[in-house]
């Protein structure tokens, strides 16, 4: 995966003191702990929280130091976590925010104070973003709809829950989504909310596609083209939906927009590329890619906290953030 920041392989000697502090701070553990403690937290937000915590501990005294710390931390976090697409969206957003705003405060110190003090606020806002999406997406779900849903997504979960709370009567078909089996979780939480659900195996997508009115999925990351990086199986579902002329809606928070431009699923970093062998390898099915990339032409619309966007709207938001 192409990382956005210029590679700073070794810290310069002037920054050695910084490195000491950040070495004593296990960035990966902190990141994973954030995700563990708050099940509602998404990966980009956890990454932002981790960086904020780091800033609170290291107390950099110059803005150069601050930037250096953040750069190094971002690098090591991206390297240490396997599925780094989503978290790199958070790191990049935070980095960009710091760089853009450091000069806006008269002194950079108050900038840092703001960032550290508002740690919890970011998490709250990320949750509000989800609520926004639940509102923006509401009119897409109508009475008597049959909705095909892939795997589990917190945003999609909150949207469907909101729709059911507003007394819209719809039914959901959830795909099992191997190998993570997150589909079973989705089916469970939706049934608990009183929504009629049918859980189907992944191979049944084609069997049910004619029976559904629309297809929904979440996203791990939204690429610059407007295509989405999501749990494995999204691509085939999208192609199927296009073939059957069913709309595919992606629900994603805007902090998942990431500056990547993959052209095919194989452009994504994976631990387990496709391999051939004549002997039976161990755990073959467990060792398969967990995410795939769905190109933008298959997506009808993205339901985000910024509103309902066409895929080309994503690049515009990213351009607004990075090049002006």
């Amino acid at each position: 995966m192409a990382s956005e920041q210029p590679a700073t392989s070794q810290p310069s000697s002037s920054a050695s003191s910084i490195m000491e502090v950040s070495e004593s701070f296990d960035i990966k553990a902190t990141y994973l702990k954030f995700l563990e403690d708050d099940k509602e937290m998404t990966m980009p937000v956890a990454a932002i929280e981790t960086l904020v915590t780091l800033l609170g501990i290291t107390q950099p005294s110059t803005s150069y130091e601050l930037i250096k710390i953040l750069e190094n931390a971002t690098q090591s976090l991206k390297k240490s976590v396997k599925n780094s697409i989503s978290l790199s969206a958070g790191c990049d957003l935070f980095m960009r925010f710091v760089l853009r705003n450091i000069h806006k405060y008269g002194d950079w110190d108050s900038c840092k104070r703001h960032l550290v003090a508002n740690g919890r606020l970011f998490v709250e806002r990320a949750k509000t973003a989800r609520e926004h999406i639940a509102e923006n997406g509401l009119p897409f779900i109508r009475d008597d709809d049959v909705i095909l849903v892939l795997s589990y997504s917190r945003t999609l979960h909150s949207l469907l829950l909101n729709a059911s709370k507003k007394r819209i009567r719809f039914r959901v078909i959830v795909t099992e989504s191997r190998p993570s089996n997150k589909g079973s979780l989705m089916a469970k939480v939706l049934r608990e909310a009183g929504i009629p659900v049918s859980l189907v195996v992944d191979g049944m997508m084609g069997y049910v596609i004619d029976k559904v009115d629309k297809v929904f999925c979440g996203a791990e990351g939204v690429a610059e083209s407007g295509g989405v990086i999501n749990h494995i199986g999204t691509y085939q579902l999208a192609v199927l939906a296009r073939n059957a002329n069913k709309p595919l809606y992606v629900v994603a928070e805007s902090h998942k927009f990431v500056r990547l431009f993959p052209l095919s699923p194989s452009d994504l970093p994976t631990e387990f590329p496709v391999q051939f062998s004549i002997t039976e390898p161990e755990y073959e099915l467990e060792r398969s890619p967990r995410v795939d990339f769905t190109p933008h032409q298959y997506i009808t619309a993205l339901i985000t906290d910024l509103g309902v966007l066409t895929p080309s709207g994503v690049s515009e938001e990213l351009i607004k953030m990075w090049y002006d």
Partner: protein
Amino acid sequence: MSDLTLKTLTHHHKSDKDIFFQIDTFISQLKRRQITGSNDVGMATAHLLVRFVSAARWTHIDSLISDLRLLGKRLIAAQPREFACGNMVRRVLALIREEIHGNNENGIDNKGLSSSSPLITSMFNLLSTEDKSIETANNEKKTGRDLKPYIIEGIQELIEEIRNIEDSIAGMSVEMIHENEVLLTPSPNSKTVLEFLRRASQKRKFSVLVTESFPNETEIAHAFAKKLAKAGIETVIIPDSSVYAVMSRVGKVIVGARTVLANGGCISASGIALACEAAKNHKTPVLAVTGVYKLSPLYPFDVESLIEVGNTGKVVDFSDKDMVENVEVMNPTYDYVAPENIDIYVTNIGGYSPSFIYRLVLDHYSSEDNKL
């Protein structure tokens, strides 16, 4: 007078009964379909808004905004499928909000982070500081009396925009139409299309196939063809059923739109979706000519609710007893054209691809007014 009564509109002076009378007249005209079509409805709404704002007295700009929203709601309820009135009200609201926002920008520009230029708000929403308090405090100070001339001027500009729409779109026609091209238009009811072709005919020689548009616009189609012929354009009227058959010889399909929706699709007269579908099958480019005032911030969540069903007497004569008793007859008056079936929107501010329409919507409307 239903919910927009003198009581609810306390901000208007009691002596301004005149304006309420005008609102009611307009609403009845909408209901009775005495005013129809985006152009006329848009124009009438804009004129009403000028009078409404001139008559309004407000101590706080928010009260004007809420009055306008209420007015918009009533107009939309009177004729839900005439999108132009909702669009006009929303445009004026966006204008007012922009005016307030602009004033605030100057006011608190040195307050720090959050007043960074309004463009960069979006993705940074997650991280930026909350400065709503400052904004509202600032709003309180602006009593908005001085805004009135700006608002009225803005609406006048809107009226000018609608008035000159044909002219500004037609200006682009020469670039779009080639010499000796065969064009097909299934929208004989569109003034914009007529002007577009007429203007092109001054510099180009081409022929136009006009669909008969049975049953709702057959007479209009004949009149339209006559006008084209008078302008020296080689014109052929074809039955609707032969649209697919002739498509292989057609260079471009030119359609008008009643409303352009936020996803890039549009609502237009019935028969147009068929022509666009046939065009797609033959990879023939489809040009939709439309004014920006027809742009609606709404999303077609439920296509069927957008389409009106008209008089079936036009399809089958009511005196035909055997038919009327035994056959179910339908006459939908509009069509929904999906964004994939349109190649370019030619508007008074330039040509745009359907996937860019959402951006135009964001530029012209403020999202808080999408739902009045």
